[in-house]
């Protein structure tokens, strides 16, 4: 590399030969600032190495106490609680589906073509989609007393916005051509919906509902923490008295149940697709 070569290269593309240091420094600075902000936040909420170290010893004791898992002679009760959790998930999902169906139809652009109405409706659904079921469960249990009633209601309400949105999308994304074909053959509107729309959207909706059932089974397990019954209640009780061998047993059993339900539901969804 002679100086002449260097000059020639610089003339051809100065920035490729000497990348701007200012850019680099700036980028480094932004990175450093982001890191500093993150550390400041961590300190603000109390996430510090000392705090971590302080709790890890206890956590290690807990984990050691989990082995070997032990049913504590209450297997029947645990299985019954698992059944109750599934019952809550199933009932909640069905209620949510029933409520979401009309909302979904109403939310579909092809059904309600008024853009402002459509946009507003969807935004409201979007806003409430994020509220976790536990937040609903807390207030329903307070209002209606301990027991699965509040849990089922919480699961249903937490699901409605998400399901309604998916239903609406299923209706919007359906292929127009079969409907057109039916109309051209002189079919009445109900017939068009029955033979044109329903065969397209029903499997999709069913599959999405099953997906929600899966996630509800996971959510239902924690509702017991706020008093909505089921396996969450059993778990909370045992964590409070530090019976970690029983906690481990319940969690393991529950994980197996989740896996089984997921497998069944995936099979069903594969058949629907």
């Amino acid at each position: 590399m002679t100086p002449a070569d260097m000059d020639q290269a610089l003339e051809l593309s100065p920035r490729a030969v000497r990348p701007s240091w200012r850019d680099r420094v700036l980028r480094g600075l932004i990175g450093a600032l982001a890191l500093a902000a993150l550390i400041a936040m961590a300190v603000d909420v109390g996430v510090t190495p000392t705090a971590l170290a302080a709790g890890s010893g206890k956590l290690a004791t807990f984990l050691r106490a989990m082995i070997p898992p032990n049913a504590g002679g209450e297997l029947v009760r645990i299985v019954r609680a698992l059944g109750e959790t599934f019952a809550m998930a199933f009932a909640g999902t069905v209620l949510a589906a029933v409520a979401a169906l009309p909302l979904g139809v109403f939310g579909a652009k092809s059904v309600v073509p008024q853009p402002l109405l459509h946009f507003g409706f969807r935004r409201v659904l979007d806003m409430f989609r994020g509220v976790p079921a536990l937040v609903w469960a807390l207030i329903f249990v307070a209002a209606f007393g301990l027991g699965p009633f509040g849990g089922v209601l919480a699961l249903a309400i937490a699901d409605v916005p998400g399901l309604a949105k998916l239903y609406a999308e299923a209706i919007e994304n359906c292929d127009e051509k079969p409907l057109e074909g039916l109309r051209s053959a002189g079919a009445a509107p109900p017939v068009v919906l029955r033979y044109g729309l329903l065969p397209q959207v029903a499997p999709l909706m069913a599959s999405q509902t099953l997906f929600f059932l899966e996630s509800n089974f996971r959510n239902a397990a924690v509702l017991g923490i706020v008093g909505a019954g089921g396996i969450g209640f059993e778990l909370e009780e045992r964590i409070r008295i530090f019976a970690f061998d029983e906690v481990a047993f319940i969690v393991l059993l529950y994980v197996v149940c989740v896996a089984v339900l997921d497998t069944i539901s995936q099979r069903l969804r594969a058949r629907l697709a």
Binding site: L38, M41, A42, D44, V45, G46, V47, A51, L52, G55, S56, K58, L59, F62, G83, E84, F86, A87, M88, F90, A91, V94, D126, M127, F128, G130, V131, P132, L134, V135, L138, I139, A142, A143, F144, G145, G147, P148, F149, G151, V152, R218, A221, V222, I225, V226, G229, G232, L235, E236, I239, R240, F242, F244, V247, V251, Y254, V255, V258, A259
Partner: protein
């Protein structure tokens, strides 16, 4: 001709009979399950104090704040004003911000760890099969544990406060992003990697110049999506004592201030909504960049 029709009709009847039987079994199974579910969950027989509809009406009435049109904009002392409804707004905003902080820290920590895990269990980047197997199983195990159960145990260990919540969220973020990152890594275009290998580059340089430029936009997009979910999850974690605005929800319930609960709930909804919109903007820009390449 008639024979063909006969064969068709027979076939049709057979298929129809089978389909009807299947549908009937399915319907029966579904109804039985549904009946059992409602019975087990005591939904309809639930004792919520008699007169269920009345109870629900009463509950809704208690949740809606007693706002008065003429006092709406007055200060906290005036019963029926907005300020009276949101009487502890500064505290709620502070704890709300704490919830966002929890989500940010947990997402960053979880995503950083997931980067390593994503490389350690990608078929095309990690040649040692046992390492891939162990990392993959670990991620799977973490994903199956319900967040709030983990949070309960961690609150018992680390005490009440955001630390337990942050660890919980970081763990579950690690589990889900680790899997997603590994999938992104495995879908990388192998040709630039081959060119790097052909020019004598080792694994580190292959990752830096062949993999990272391809995967980073996808990583960022997944991490942002996860951040949205984590803000909502962090809000719920407060209910079990893991810090943030959820603690205030729990307090409102303890004092049976249902209208306060609604106030905080709406605040949470707005907060999640704002984060979603912001992150959506960034994600769309990231994807836009991706489309241009």
């Amino acid at each position: 001709m008639t024979a063909a029709v006969e064969v068709f009709e027979q076939e049709r009847r057979r298929v129809l009979r089978r389909r009807r039987a299947e549908a009937l079994i399915g319907l029966l199974a579904f109804s039985a399950l549904l009946a059992l579910a409602f019975q087990r969950s005591e939904f309809f027989s639930a004792d919520i104090g008699g007169d269920p509809l009345g109870r629900i009406g009463e509950f809704l009435a208690r949740m809606v704040p007693d706002l008065k049109a003429e006092a709406l904009l007055e200060d906290r002392q005036a019963r029926g004003s907005l300020a009276w409804w949101y009487y502890d707004l500064p505290l709620w905003l502070r704890t709300g911000w704490q919830t966002v902080e929890m989500a940010l820290i947990a997402t960053t920590a979880g995503a950083a760890a997931a980067c390593f895990a994503g490389f350690a269990c990608a078929r095309n980047l990690m040649p040692l099969a046992p390492v891939r197997f162990v990392v993959r199983r670990t991620l799977e195990l973490i994903r199956t544990l319900p967040d709030l159960i983990v949070a309960l145990i961690l609150v018992a260990a680390f005490g009440v406060g955001p630390l337990a919540g942050v660890i919980t969220l970081a763990l579950s973020t690690f589990g889900s992003l680790g899997k997603l990152f590994a999938e992104v890594n495995e879908e990388v275009d192998p040709r630039p990697l081959e060119a790097l290998e052909a020019s004598g580059a080792g694994l580190a340089r292959k990752i830096r110049y062949g993999v990272l430029p391809q995967v980073l936009p996808n990583y960022a997009s997944y991490a942002l999506l996860r951040l949205e979910g984590n803000v909502a999850a962090a809000a719920a974690l407060g209910i079990v004592g893991a810090g943030g605005i959820g603690v205030e929800l729990q307090r409102a319930i303890t004092y049976t201030e249902f209208d306060t609960y609604l106030a905080i709930l709406l605040l949470i909804v707005a907060m999640i909504f704002l984060i979603d919109i912001g992150s959506e903007q960034i994600r769309h820009r990231l994807i836009g960049l991706g489309a241009k390449r």
